[in-house]
């Protein structure tokens, strides 16, 4: 199974949930002081890891304010040396359980940050919503651990600094922790750690993308067939994405309106790539085929055929749903379409260079349309059904370039539309107490409901003495395991 940011978040939330549940029953042989010491010792690493996730996706500066308060307090905790060795009687031997639980969460958040480090900066509305969702999912975990830690700290005088810090975390993180799960889903959850040795669709795409971009990007290696292969593979990946999207929409994994928009965008991209597979018969760019690209293309087609097709057709939605985790599969195809986007850029740049630079492409001599270039040599070649270097400004070349440009713009739209379909399909929120929602921790403020975590309500700034604490009440999750 391919590890994605989504699956890691699932795991992190499940661990945070367990930590909260266990902390209400002090571990055998451990005191409250030891529990508190263990939790506090792990906080600097947790704060560091959470900060790294929050900073992993670069966003527009105006958006930074949203979590600036959280960042500020996390930075303070990350630099607070005293947390690692609290001087409270009875805490000398920190219990391994609570500290290790928080460290495990921190480690996974660190992995998430590493996986996101290669992401391009968030620019679009889809990116913005997804980054806010990622923030909420990260901060919700920090909030849960802070609630648990504060409950364990008790009223020891020696731990006053720690209590102030934890209250600061609570106040600043609560709003994010209360974001409903349905508003947190986004494309960053599809970011995956993929090995090029992987035999899955993700692995095939991971091998295909660099091989194709390299073949197109090299002035020496690029050929007509390299460009055609790239276009053909793009067509197949787009068709595959459409098929999987249909299946996902059918089982309710993708909202109908978003699925419709994504479907229309995919059809548009598909139509744009078609002419680029065919090429006009009168234009050529000879050369030896790139074996790496050829092999990667063949493997990609083979993996798709072996897994998603049967009897020369796509598997029906029901079969896809039975055989695969459709959520993960849609995620794979979203990543695949991002790959197609990269190929579209490389394809357009190459075509631009080929068409605008002299003597790169060849044209059938009989197909030269510009009178100025129908000289003696061209007419002679035409009579022998020969080829000549394409003169600048030939309509056949300009058409190819326009086609590449259209494919790039339509692919960009399709990538954005498919990303937008990553938002959660429907609210998992029930009518009663809302605590474990879609495999993620959500804090709720609504009065009259039991609260999952200790929350701090204060009209005054963080840390004011008028803070009112409500008791911690912990319950089991509504579902035994994360949603995936």
């Amino acid at each position: 199974m391919t590890a994605t940011v989504g699956t890691l978040l699932d795991d992190v939330h499940a661990r945070a949930w367990d930590l909260c549940s266990r902390s209400s029953e002090v571990e055998e042989g451990a005191s409250h002081e030891q529990l508190a010491a263990g939790l506090l010792a792990a906080w600097p690493r947790l704060a560091n890891a959470a900060l790294r996730v929050l900073d992993a996706v670069h966003v527009e500066p105006v958006w930074l304010d949203d979590a600036s308060g959280v960042r500020e307090v996390l930075r303070a905790i990350a630099g607070e040396k005293s947390l690692a060795s609290p001087s409270v009687a009875g805490s000398e031997v920190a219990p391994a359980g609570s500290e290790h639980a928080v460290l495990a969460i921190a480690t996974r958040l660190g992995v998430i940050a590493d996986m996101l480090s290669g992401e391009r900066a968030a620019r679009t509305e889809v990116d913005r919503v997804a980054s806010l969702g990622l923030q909420a999912n990260t901060v919700a975990v920090v909030h849960a651990v802070a609630v648990t830690t504060l409950a364990a700290l008790g009223d020891h005088r020696e731990l006053e600094t720690a209590r102030w810090l934890m209250r600061g975390v609570l106040v600043r993180s609560e709003r994010h922790a209360m974001t409903p799960t349905v508003e947190r889903a986004g494309r960053y959850e599809d970011v995956a750690a993929i090995s090029s040795e992987d035999q899955s669709l993700d692995g095939a795409i991971a091998r295909w993308l660099p091989a194709t971009v390299a073949a197109l990007g090299s002035p020496r290696r690029v050929t007509q067939s390299a460009l055609q292969f790239a276009a053909g593979d793009a067509l197949i990946l787009i068709a595959t994405a459409g098929t999987v999207l249909n299946a996902a929409a059918q089982v309710g994994l993708v909202r109908d309106d978003r699925a419709d928009r994504a479907r229309a965008a995919l059809v548009g991209a598909h139509e744009a790539w078609r002419p680029l597979v065919s090429w006009p018969g009168t234009v050529r760019l000879n050369g030896v085929r790139d074996i790496e690209q050829f092999e990667a293309s063949r493997q990609l087609r083979q993996v798709i055929t072996d897994n998603l097709r049967e009897n020369r057709g796509w598997l029906p939605p029901e079969t896809l749903s039975d055989r695969f985790d459709l959520g993960s599969l849609v995620g794979s195809l979203r990543r695949g379409l991002h790959g197609v986007g990269n190929v579209a850029v490389a394809h357009f740049q190459t075509m631009d260079r080929l068409v605008r630079s002299p003597s790169q492409l060849w044209i059938a001599a009989s197909a030269v349309t510009q009178t100025a270039y129908r000289g003696y040599a061209t007419i002679g070649a035409a009579s022998r059904k020969g080829w000549v270097p394409m003169p600048p400004g030939e309509p056949a070349g300009l058409d190819l370039l326009a086609g590449a440009k259209l494919a790039l713009s339509r692919t960009t739209l399709a990538v954005a539309a498919l990303d937008a379909s990553a938002a959660a399909s429907r609210s998992q929120v029930g009518a009663g107490t809302l605590r474990w929602d879609g495999g993620r921790i959500v804090a709720y403020r609504a009065d009259g409901h039991p609260r999952l975590f200790e929350t701090v309500h204060s009209p005054e700034p963080a840390g004011a003495r008028s803070e009112r604490q409500t008791p911690v009440r912990l319950g089991g999750p509504d579902q035994p395991s994360p949603r995936r």
Binding site: G232, D233, I236, T240, V277, G281, V288, R289, F294
Partner: protein, 96 residues
């Protein structure tokens, strides 16, 4: 028929078949995969240094593949077995 002319003509027919496959409205997606197979074949022709002959398209992709097969059969001494086998494999998958 001159062998190299036969190869050029066969490549021209394979190209026409590929164009027809790409243009086909095929919800099953099979024609996309067949078009890719044709591109694989074109790659083999390219390695032999064959230049395509521009030919009028046949009525459909299958007919173009049949014509390519006929042209290759005429140039048999020059045709590598891999090329022949690849073409026949695509023909077997192409709908009539």
């Amino acid at each position: 028929m001159n062998g190299s002319v036969g190869l050029a003509r066969a490549l021209g027919h394979v190209r026409n078949a590929m164009v027809a496959f790409v243009a086909a409205e095929d919800p099953s997606g099979e024609s996309l995969f067949l078009a890719a197979e044709c591109l694989d074949l074109e790659g083999l022709f390219a390695e032999l240094g064959v230049e395509p002959e521009l030919l009028d398209p046949e009525p459909d992709a299958r007919a173009s593949l049949d014509a390519a097969s006929h042209a290759l059969a005429g140039a048999r001494p020059l045709v590598p077995l891999a090329l022949w086998a690849g073409l026949q494999a695509v023909r077997a998958r192409a709908p009539r």
